[in-house]
């Protein structure tokens, strides 16, 4: 039965080929053999630093910015060290078991586990704690930890820029293993992540990200690039997940796009693990057996991967309309445009696919293995050497006019994402109006004394104001004591003091 169907399909395919050849069509012409060695490189993508050799995502610490090294021993609290650490400091955590949630709400902290003869600094959530490491600061390094048995995330950042997450083992840890979100310029490399109920490595709503040399397995999604831009996923080993590598747009999020993603030189093998994602989660819809999934993402290049033994499809490309369970979002473009498939090694994919894929394949009279499956509208997509693969739905794909991405080394930003530049005068006004005027009117008493009175007291002496706001003391018996404003940095403190002395109403 199966043999007969295959034979039939081959006969039809041959007939189609001959028909195409006779009509002079070039759309599905196996004679179009393109060498990807030394051909044209991709000319699109993030341009700012793409041609520059960028090493890492952390800005180098200048000599005067290098702080202290704090040592944490078993029995100590890592968080206690974080609390006393100042930007520029390094926290070294000695091998042993630590059961805590570490959160870093300050900039430029390097949190480094020490590995001694294979023994690691281990964060163990005992199945009770929510997250192992949370951070919101910029210029954060998380390195060399073993993380296990947390309910939520292994490592999560919210809006931290310029981060490196390296050489961590994240095992059986909740929903996401490594989850940077809403940040720019990050490197995730040499991590081993397994047993995760959503994505082992999940890059959410981020820009300029590099994910390389990680091993991810036994998870629902291996590596997920969601609503993010300028990301490279390369040289990873993703195996025995439900889906290997994903690039997609989830509708309903505040940042609506995914584009400019390169997925290259990864091993994507045996991703047939039954889906154990939480009901309703986005990844719970991934069919078990998906090598690469591109949903609604644009400008995705797939190159040089070894994609083998994924039973639904090696590469699955779809729009939002052909996915189930997604919300409506008129602001998110539902179609995957400009998907570019260069040379990949694909073997034995789609051998036991799902009914929906099989049914659509039959409309093209395709049966049997499926390396590449595309469904739904797509514009500007292309492929080279399509004759090598079992493919469905790529009849509209053009032949790419380039064969490699050799000229793109990285999308990381040379020198890191820059903080906002605020002139001192503007800084003073922002802090004065944003903070001081809540309690001080120019004339007359509000909660604190009038600015006029403060000006008289500190005329020509902004440093006096700086000194006072760092350590306020009671001057007027009938006024409440002012809370210290020492959280403002020194530059802002002086700027606001100077500004306060100049306001006129």
């Amino acid at each position: 039965m199966i043999n007969r169907a295959k034979t039939l399909a081959i006969v039809i395919a041959l007939a189609a080929f001959i028909g195409g050849w006779q009509l002079g069509h070039n759309l599905d012409n196996p004679a179009q053999i393109t060498s990807s060695v030394g051909g044209a490189s991709y000319s699109g993508g993030f341009q700012a630093d793409g041609n520059e050799l960028v090493h890492g995502a952390l800005p180098p610490r200048s000599a005067d910015a290098i702080g202290q090294t704090l040592i944490v021993n078993p029995g100590d609290s890592i968080q206690a060290a974080v609390e006393v650490a100042k930007p520029g400091d390094t926290i070294r955590v000695m091998p042993g078991i630590y059961t805590e949630t570490v959160y870093i709400d300050k900039d430029d902290i390097h949190l480094v586990g020490v590995i001694q003869a294979g023994e690691r600094a281990t964060l163990d959530g005992l199945g009770k704690l929510n997250d192992a490491i949370l951070y919101s600061g910029n210029n954060i390094l998380i390195e060399n930890f073993k993380i296990t048995r947390y309910k939520g995330n292994g490592i999560m950042s919210q809006a931290g820029n310029n981060f490196e997450i390296r050489n961590n083992l994240v095992i059986d840890t909740g929903i996401y293993g490594i989850f940077p979100q809403l940040g720019s310029n990050g490197l995730i490399e040499h991590n081993v992540v397994s047993g995760i109920a959503d994505a082992a490595i999940y890059v959410g709503m981020s820009d300029n990200i590099h994910v390389a040399h990680n091993e991810v397995f036994d998870s629902v999604a291996g590596i997920e690039i969601e609503n993010s831009r300028h990301a490279i996923v390369e040289n990873n080993y993703t195996h025995h997940n439900t889906g290997g590598i994903l690039a997609f747009i989830t509708p309903g999020l505040p940042i609506k796009t995914t584009y400019d993603v390169i997925i290259r030189n990864n091993f994507i093998l045996d991703n047939n693990t039954p889906n154990f994602g939480a009901p309703g989660s986005t990844v719970s819809g991934i069919p078990a057996g998906t090598g690469i999934l591109v949903m609604a993402a644009d400008d995705v290049i797939i190159e040089g991967n070894i994609i083998v033994n994924n039973k639904v499809a090696g590469i699955l490309i779809n729009d939002h309309a052909n996915a189930s369970g997604l919300t409506l979002d008129p602001d998110a473009d539902p179609n995957p445009d400009r998907v570019m498939i260069l040379d990949n090694v694909m073997q034995n994919n789609g051998y036991d696919t799902i009914d929906e894929v099989r049914a659509f394949a039959l409309t093209e009279l395709h049966t049997g293995d499926i390396d590449i499956f595309q469904i739904g509208p797509t514009e500007g997509s292309c492929i080279i050497n399509r004759h090598r693969y079992h493919h469905v739905g790529i009849g509209d794909f053009a032949d790419c006019d380039f064969t490699n991405t050799d000229n793109i080394h990285s999308y990381l930003l040379a020198g890191g994402a820059k903080p906002r530049v605020i002139e001192p005068s503007e800084r003073g006004e922002i802090a004065y109006l944003g903070v001081c005027t809540g309690c001080h009117a120019y004339a007359g008493r509000l909660i604190g004394p009038a600015v006029e009175e403060i000006q008289a007291r500190y005329a020509g002496n902004p440093e006096g104001i700086v000194s006072y706001i760092n350590a306020p003391f009671k001057i007027r018996a009938d006024y409440p004591e002012m809370p210290a404003q020492n959280y403002l940095d020194a530059e802002t403190q002086l700027a606001v003091a100077r500004y306060m002395l100049t306001v006129k109403n």
Binding site: D105, G160, D329, V435
Partner: protein, 433 residues
């Protein structure tokens, strides 16, 4: 009754006096205040003799936190302007810029908007003002769960807080309006809210001595008194309701001591991927401004509100509502679109109750993917509440005008709501005679 109302009003005014960003204006109004209070003593507080109508002067300074530009516009300044946000989307973590906001109104427009906001003349029967449902003493909500319009009509949804509405891009629970101006007009003309119509509204504003003049002051180049300018003035006032100096904000800007250990624990639960609160209530505004279907139950006497299904004509958004900001959330109980939950603790328990646990069997909702089974402990729920309470800041609360140009009583909404709900016979007492 009148005496106790008077006492309440006086207290309120003493309190708000000390806030005083419109101190200059208030000084002009001292005489009016006297009139009003005299009137109250003789039980004619709803009217001020037009022949003695005082001259209102609009503020020429911006509210605090705003910088007055050379072309007389108020520009918001806050510490979040020291930061970036990814793609300028205004969502992120602690030191992240806010979403783009509305500002640039003149001090006069903002101040005129304030008078209008508190003036019951805007409702069909002069019984309620904007402030009746958006009470500064109740986080610019009304504490009712489901708001009450003219003639004691109960609405289906709760009055959203107006704090920080300058940062929002869509308005109403179902996201059906897309500007403050568009929003402002809708309740005025809704038959179950303020019940007015454009013609009556303009006619009644023109009939008040002060308004044509005040509109002329605030909108000298754009035609003075008009419906459009009324909407702009209300938008201008709402854009000045800024709450960005909570203890949470101090923590975010770098004061590690601004929150205690329990509150920080709450923050960490809030942003953890177990509870996932911050995935929709994203800092720094504590909303991602998206629609979410979360499947909260309605009050027992109410059928399911389809919410954004109507706005977007899509069953996928059935029962979906705009994610509200959590700033000042502790001030705006009860909670959710129809006020089903009385406390923040109940809200936290709802999210912990399991995906879809409150959705009736016969109801088809496409629940949001972050509605899960977080399995938080009781003490973790308490910590979440502790954290949400750190988001309160009313330091820039505007003054309630001591009098409004119509001469109608600037209603104390607390008294109003009590009367509307419990003393229906008393309705006429709030009408202009």
């Amino acid at each position: 009754m009148a005496a106790s109302t008077l006492a309440t009003l006086s207290t309120t005014h003493r309190d708000t006096f000390s806030r005083g960003w419109l101190r200059k204006l208030v000084c002009h109004l001292v005489a009016i205040g006297g009139l009003v209070f005299c009137g109250m003593a003789t039980s004619t507080e709803a009217t001020v003799d037009p022949t003695e109508a005082p001259i209102f002067r609009l503020a020429d300074q911006c509210p605090p936190s705003f910088s007055l530009s050379e072309d007389n516009r108020c520009l918001l300044r806050n510490l979040y302007q020291l930061y970036n946000s990814l793609g300028d989307h205004g969502v992120g973590g602690l030191k992240t810029a806010l979403p783009t906001h509305r500002d640039g109104f003149t001090p006069q427009q903002i101040d005129l908007g304030r008078l209008l906001f508190f003036d019951p003349l805007l409702s069909a029967d002069n019984s309620i003002s904007c402030a009746s449902c958006h009470d500064p003493d109740k986080g610019f909500g009304d504490g009712l769960g489901r708001s009450v319009g003219i003639h004691g009509q109960r609405n289906q949804r709760s009055a959203p807080s107006l704090w920080n509405s300058a940062f929002l891009k869509d308005f109403f629970w179902d996201a059906r309006a897309h500007s403050l101006e568009e929003q402002a007009l809708s309740p005025l003309f809704s038959p179950i809210e303020m019940g007015n119509n454009p013609q009556q509204l303009i006619t009644s504003l023109k009939a008040v001595d002060a308004y044509p003049t005040l509109f002329e002051q605030a909108f000298s180049e754009t035609g003075g008194l008009s419906l459009d300018n009324l909407a702009i003035a209300l938008a201008a006032f709402q854009s000045s309701l800024i709450s960005l100096n909570s203890r949470y904000d101090q923590y975010a800007h770098g004061n590690a001591d601004a929150l205690n250990q329990q509150e920080i624990e709450g923050l960490n639960i809030f942003r953890s991927f177990v509870a996932r609160c911050s995935q929709c209530h994203m800092p720094p505004l504590f909303t991602n401004q998206q629609i979410a279907v979360i499947g909260t139950p309605e009050p027992q006497d109410m059928t399911r509100d389809i919410g954004a299904e109507k706005t977007f004509a899509s069953a996928k958004l059935r029962g979906g509502f705009k994610v509200p900001s959590l700033r000042n959330i502790a001030e705006t109980a009860p909670y959710m679109h129809s006020g089903r939950f009385a406390t923040l603790r109940e809200v936290a328990e709802f999210y912990n109750g399991g995906r879809g646990h409150a959705v009736p069997e016969d109801e088809q909702l496409l629940l949001h993917w972050h509605i899960s089974e977080p399995d938080l402990t009781s003490s973790e729920l308490d910590r979440l509440v502790d954290f949400m309470r750190t988001l309160s800041d009313s330091s820039l609360r505007p003054d309630i005008p001591r009098a409004v140009p119509s001469g109608l009583k600037t209603l104390n909404p607390k008294t109003l709501n009590l009367k509307t709900l419990n003393l229906k016979t008393n309705k006429n007492s709030r009408r202009e005679s």
